[in-house]
Amino acid sequence: MSLREGGGRMTAQSSAPNPSRGRWAWLRWFNAERITAIVILGVGIYLIIGSFQLRLFTKNGSVGAGLFPFIVAIVLTGLTAVWVGTLVFRKRIQDPANPLEEVVDHALGVEDVHDADHDYGKAIDEATQEAIDEYVVDERHGRRRLIVVVAASIVMIPLITYLGMVVDLYLYISAMLIFVAKVKWWKALVWTLLGAAVLAYGGYKLGIYFPDPFGLNTIMARWGL
C-alpha cells in the first residue's frame, strides 16, 4: 500500500529558472500526469498509423494483423483525448484539512464505506498516518537515493556483457549496500561475496545450470564467471 501523502497530486513548485513567472510560466502546466497523458496520446496515434500499415483486412477479405490493434488504438486515443481534456479544463479542488483521507480512500476504493458513516474509515486514516509518521523519514532524501539506484542500474545492465552476470551483480549489490544502505564497506563486500557464491554461483549456476552470461575475461570465464 502506498504511504504517500498527497497521492500523485504533488507537483514541482520551484526550479531554476522559476517557472511560475515570466516566459517560463507555461512550464508549470506540465506535471507527471499531463506529460504521461500526452505521451499515451502519442502512442495511440502511432498505433492507429501502424495498424493501418499492417492492413485491417487481407486481400482475400480475412481479418488482417492490424484490425484488432486498430480498434484498440481508436479507443485508446479517444479515451486519452478525454483524459487530456479533463486535465486541461478541470480545476481540481482539494480540501487541505484531510488530504490523507482522500489518498487512503483512493487506494482502497472505499469511498462508499465512508459515506455509510462507518467510523473505521477514520481508524484507517489514523493507522496510515501513524505509519507515515513512524517510517517515512525524509522524502527528499529518498528521492535522491532513488536516482542513485536507477543510475547505478543503468550502468549495471550493459556491463553484464563485459563482466559476466555473477561479477556484475556482485559489484552492483555491494555498491547498493555501501552507498545506499550505508553498510560498512568490508561488511558489504564480504556478505555480498557469500551471497553471490552461495545463491548466484552455487544455486543458479551449479544447482539448476542457469546459463548466465560469462565475462569477456577468459580466466574468469573458465571459472564460469
Binding site: M1, S2, L3, G8, R9, W29, E33, T36, V43, L54, T58, S62, V63, G64, A65, G66, P69, V72, V75, L76, L79, T80, W83, T86, K91, R92, D95, P96, A97, L108, G109, V110, E111, V113, H118, Y120, A123, A127, A131, E134, Y135, V136, V137, E139, G142, V149, V150, I154, I157, I160, M165, L169, Y172, I173, M176, V180, A200, P211, D212, P213
Partner: protein
C-alpha cells in the same frame, strides 16, 4: 472424470516427495518475499514467476500456488508487526493487528491470523472443489462467447479498479498494446517492433510483470525513504481458549464473506476484508475495543483474505478469467507451461487442474505448520534493514528477468516497465487492468479474429447467439450503472464541497 475421483487423483499426484518439496519451497519463498515490507502477494509472485520456467507444469503450478499462500501470510506479518500491509486487502488487519503488537500481543495476533487463514482456506477449498462442476457448462463455448465473456470479465475488473474508469480502461488498453509487440501469430507480420529484432518474439509477460509490479514497488519504497524494520518482541505465539471462543464467530463469518467476494471477478479484496471488519464491529458486544487490539478484528479480515484467495481460483479455473493482479500472474505461470486455464483445462489437462486444486489444500497445511512454530524465524527477516533486503531483491530480479529468455534486453525492458510502474503509481493509473490484459490480450485477440473470420468480417455477427446477447446486455447495463454512479458521486462531491465552502470561509488550495 467426476469431482471425487479427480480430487483423489490430484492428491495422488501432489503427495509425492518432489511435489511436496516444491510446495514447501514455494511456501518458504512466498513467506520470505511476502515479509519484505511493502511486498504483497502480487509483487512476491511476480518476482518469483521466472522459477516457473525451470520446473515442469505440475511442479510450477504447485509451487506458484504455494508462493501465493506464503506471500499472503508474509504480508500479514508485516501488517501486524510494523503496520505496513503488503497490499490493500491487508489494511483491515493493521487496524487491530498493529494495536495488538503495541499491547505486546503480536504473537497472539499472528497465531489467530494463521488459524483463521487455515480454517477459512479449508472451508473455501471445499467450495472450490464443488464449483469445478461449473467448468463443464463452459466447455461448449465458441470464440464468440469466449470473446464476449472475457470482455465482460475485464470490464468488471477494470470498472472496479481505482477511482477513474477512464484511467482503468487506458491502463487495460496499454496492456493490450504491449501484447501486440512481436510477430503476428497468423500472418507472421512484424507488429510494432520498431525494426528491432530483439522485439520480434514479443515482450514477455513475466518481464513486464516483474518490472511493473515488483520493481515499481521497491523503487517506490526506496523513493519514500521508508525505513521499516521490527525491533520489538512478539510475545508468546499461542491462544487461550477464550481467545479462540471469541474468534470462532469472526472466522466463520469471514469465511463466508471471503468466499462470496472471491466469486465475483473484479471485486476488490480490500472491500471484502473491510466488510468483514465492519461486520465484526457491528456484532461485537464491545465495539469500542476495535482499533485498540480486538482479536476479532484480526481473525475476521485474515480469514476473509484467505477464503477469498481460495475462491478467486473459481473464475480462473472455470472460465479462465483472473479476478485480480495476483491471479493474472498465476495465469501467466500456466501459460508459460503451455496450459490455458478455463473449461478446457479440465478436459485436456485434468491431472494438472486437480493437482493444482489438491496443492491448494496441501499448501494451506504447510503454511499453517510453517507459520505457527516458525513465526519467529520469519519475524527475524524484519530485523534485517529494509534497504539490504531491497538491494538483494534487485539482484534477484535481474537474474529472474534475464533467465526468461537469456537476453540482456529483457533486463532493460524490466527496468523500463519498473520506471513506468513507478510513474503510474504516482499518477494513479491502476496497474491491475494492465496486468490482466497483458495475460488475456492474446486470448482476446485470438478469439476476436476467429469469431470475425467465421462471420466473414461482419462485426454484428459477434453478437451471435443467446450467450453473447446476454453477456453484451449485461455489459451494457454495467456501463450505464457505472456512468450513473459516477454522475451521482460527482454531484455528491460538489454538494460536499459547496457545504464545506459555506462552513469554512477560508479559501481552499487549488492544485493545477
Amino acid at each position: 472424470m467426476d469431482v471425487w475421483s479427480g480430487l483423489m487423483d490430484g492428491f495422488v499426484h501432489i503427495l509425492t516427495w518432489q511435489n511436496l518439496l516444491w510446495a514447501l519451497l514455494g511456501c518458504a519463498l512466498g513467506m520470505l518475499t511476502g515479509v519484505i515490507p511493502g511486498f504483497g502477494p502480487a509483487a512476491a509472485t511476480s518476482l518469483l514467476l521466472p522459477l516457473a520456467f525451470f520446473v515442469g507444469p505440475v511442479a510450477s503450478t504447485v509451487m506458484m500456488a504455494a508462493i501465493y499462500y506464503g506471500s499472503m501470510y508474509g504480508g500479514t506479518i508485516t501488517s501486524v508487526l510494523i503496520n505496513v500491509p503488503g497490499e490493500v486487502s491487508s489494511v483491515a488487519t493493521t487496524l487491530d493487528g498493529y494495536a495488538m503488537t503495541k499491547n505486546g500481543q503480536a504473537g497472539k495476533a499472528l497465531a489467530i491470523a494463521a488459524i483463521g487463514s487455515f480454517i477459512g482456506g479449508v472451508i473455501a477449498f471445499v467450495g472450490l472443489v464443488f464449483a469445478t462442476n461449473f467448468s463443464s457448462l463452459a466447455v461448449g463455448l465458441g470464440p464468440h462467447e469466449i470473446f464476449a465473456v472475457t470482455v465482460f470479465a475485464l470490464s468488471l475488473v477494470i470498472g472496479l479498479t481505482g477511482k477513474s474508469l477512464i484511467k482503468g480502461l487506458i491502463a487495460a488498453l496499454l496492456g493490450l498494446f504491449v501484447g501486440f509487440v512481436g510477430l503476428d501469430p497468423v500472418t507472421a507480420a512484424q507488429r510494432f517492433t520498431f525494426g528491432n529484432p530483439n522485439l520480434s518474439d514479443g515482450i514477455d509477460f513475466v518481464i513486464v510483470a516483474i518490472g511493473l509490479i515488483g520493481l515499481a514497488e521497491i523503487l517506490e519504497s526506496i523513493g519514500q525513504n521508508v525505513i521499516m524494520d521490527f525491533r520489538g518482541n512478539i510475545g508468546p505465539v499461542r491462544l487461550t481458549w477464550n481467545d479462540f471462543k471469541v474468534s470462532m464467530g469472526a472466522i466463520a463469518r469471514g469465511t463466508g464473506i471471503g468466499f462470496f467476494y472471491g466469486l465475483l471477478p473484479g471485486s476488490p479484496a480490500a472491500a471484502a476484508t473491510l466488510t468483514s471488519y465492519a461486520v465484526e464491529k457491528r456484532v461485537s458486544k464491545h465495539p469500542e475495543m476495535f482499533g485498540k487490539g480486538a482479536i476479532q478484528g484480526v481473525a475476521g479480515p485474515e480469514t476473509t483474505n484467505n477464503a477469498l484467495g481460495m475462491s478467486n481460483y473459481i473464475p480462473l479455473l472455470t472460465l479462465g478469467i483472473p479476478s485480480s493482479t495476483t491471479m493474472a500472474i498465476l495465469l501467466g505461470a500456466f501459460t508459460i507451461n503451455g496450459l490455458q486455464p478455463g473449461p478446457q483445462l479440465f478436459a485436456q489437462h485434468a491431472d494438472v487442474a486437480w493437482t493444482l486444486i489438491a496443492s491448494l489444500f496441501v499448501a494451506n497445511i504447510i503454511l499453517f505448520i510453517m507459520s505457527m512454530p516458525l513465526v519467529r524465524m520469519w519475524v527475524g527477516i524484519l530485523r534485517i534493514p529494509t534497504l539490504i533486503l531491497y538491494a538483494a531483491t534487485l539482484g534477484f530480479m535481474t537474474i529472474g528477468a534475464f533467465s526468461v529468455r537469456n537476453n540482456i534486453v529483457d533486463v532493460f525492458i524490466m527496468w523500463i516497465a519498473g520506471l513506468a510502474g513507478l510513474l503510474f503509481r504516482k499518477i494513479d493509473l491502476p496497474i491491475a487492468p494492465m496486468a490482466l490484459t497483458l495475460v488475456l490480450g492474446p486470448l482476446l485477440e485470438q478469439n476476436f479474429r476467429r469469431a470475425l473470420t467465421i462471420e466473414q468480417g461482419s462485426f454484428l455477427g459477434l453478437v451471435n447467439g443467446p450467450v453473447t446477447e446476454v453477456v453484451y446486455g449485461a455489459l451494457g447495463l454495467l456501463i450505464v450503472w457505472r456512468i450513473v454512479s459516477a454522475i451521482r458521486t460527482r454531484a455528491k462531491a460538489r454538494r460536499k464541497a459547496a457545504a464545506a465552502a459555506v462552513d469554512a470561509p477560508a479559501p481552499t488550495s487549488i492544485s493545477v
